[in-house]
Symmetry: C2
Subunit: 354 residues, 2 copies
Amino acid sequence: MAETNPLKRVCVVGSGNWGSAIAKIVGQNVLAHEDVFEPEIFMYVYEEIVNGQKLTEIINSEHENVKYLPDIKLPPNVIAVPDVVKACMNADVLIFVLPHQFVKDTCLKMKSFIKPNPLGISLIKGFILTEGEGIQLVSKVISEILGIETAVLMGANLATEVASEMFCETTIACENDSYKGLLNALFETSYFRCKVIRNVSGVEACGALKNVVGIGAGIVDGLGYGDNTKAAVIRLGLMEMMKFTKVFLGNEDRSVFFESCGIADLVATCHGGRNRLLGEAVVKSMKDIRLLEKEILRGQSFQGPLIAKEIYAYLKENNMLDQFPLLVAVHRICTREVDPRNFIDCLRDHPEHM
Amino acid sequence: MAETNPLKRVCVVGSGNWGSAIAKIVGQNVLAHEDVFEPEIFMYVYEEIVNGQKLTEIINSEHENVKYLPDIKLPPNVIAVPDVVKACMNADVLIFVLPHQFVKDTCLKMKSFIKPNPLGISLIKGFILTEGEGIQLVSKVISEILGIETAVLMGANLATEVASEMFCETTIACENDSYKGLLNALFETSYFRCKVIRNVSGVEACGALKNVVGIGAGIVDGLGYGDNTKAAVIRLGLMEMMKFTKVFLGNEDRSVFFESCGIADLVATCHGGRNRLLGEAVVKSMKDIRLLEKEILRGQSFQGPLIAKEIYAYLKENNMLDQFPLLVAVHRICTREVDPRNFIDCLRDHPEHM
């Protein structure tokens, strides 16, 4: 029996604040489904020294990621592992939650060591820009390097609030319906409601693009505008997200924008996300983005400016800059080509008003 | 020439904060389009005594609605008129911006005195409940009583921010395309961007329903939840708005929800609207809604609880309460049948999660 239907091992690849928050949920859920999962899960942690001690050792003794998710207790069955190969080698389920610029190298390291057919789930927001190849979805890069099916999970899920068990929803997309039960068992709780749909590329595009719009929302906050202006930025951003998804992915299914990964995540990001903080800081200080990142996030990174840069390169290559004035303005403000005080002027004659 | 193409007279019926803010825009725009409009506009003001003086007299001498939109100067060509018949009798354009419960009586008063074919434009958020006839759209009630074409204008337009000329968008819906130029001339400015579409009932339903969801957003704020939970309430509210519009109006065109009247207005209302304030107050105090209204709005009214009541009556009559848990919970919390602390429990197994 054990051989024909063995318990599944889960590995979380990444341990920032979102990685740690999701490890808390998954750690609890594998215990609640002991007929499906191994009771221990490994979490790959990029090793660093915190207060003179290794972060993995702190997590494994204190059950808390004191650097990225302080004051939240992780279940003791979440084991921090500093070697990504050791963490992933026996896993049947690989949950990816790293900054998007590290995905490729991490997958290349894992490639020769994973089991034949694990399920991948990407929680990563961003696109991957490869010289000469344009931009690609993170889930596709994972699938291609590792040769595995890759689902995605995106939603209005600010990490610290999820970790505090405040009610929210999320969207999971998987093209293979047979994983639906497994995905629900891994992620759903009474405070974290999951809806499983099939549109992987649409969900993933939402997750990447909303970070750029979030910077725009921060810019209007920094400029002192009110809720009307912010709502206009959110709506125009959403329209550009839909258009980009159509042009870039050939995906015209608008229903995905009504899921948690769509407008809900966009609204949460534009009010409480870290990229919003950056947008506000960009207006209030003339400091360079990298410096603001260091000051505000103390080690975490803003994904928004990098995604904006990737999108800009794609749009420029395809002569479509004028069709996406918001996404373009955010990039140019981040690079200091445009003064943030001109943000509204960039939007005033938006194609959506015509 | 003057006889074949006379200048059009505009009347604003109503003078609360939104009425006064739109009178400011329209007052400026009629002067900017002197080839189309008479240079003076009448604004019907419900007469009351403010600091020992008639409100109409204050407005006409100080050009400021000191009670409902203080600190904002109105153009001197906006003339306050205390008699609705005198205000409307020569008008070619009637802009309705009253609390929805006063629409019927006001139209009945105007009925015998208006010109043959003025254009009506409703800025009123709400439904009209008539004993035995169920609920009706405000624009339909105006059209039926006065026998006129009625357009609607709804968007992410918190009145004080519009009056302060902060950039925003709005949606105008009119079934007759020939009015498009007139509508743009009346309302569009560099800070108030108008998009004219045709779906009158869809736009109007958005304007009414968002006030109920706004109370829900205030409830989660009052309960101390964060941006994730609020985003979930906004999304679930939006899904119920779409479903209600489909069931109640047979309107399945989802594109209207991507306009300013849709998600943008919903987001602005859920963050900065007066019904959000009420939702928060309902959690923090056990006082009756009417008392909270007096304390918070000093004379203006919350439209949300009344709309929630009307919707509840309609849903109950049609055995659909279980399909709209958010709209129903807001009503029951406003009437104190349900403790606001149970709001999330009402949503946890929402049909949208299934």
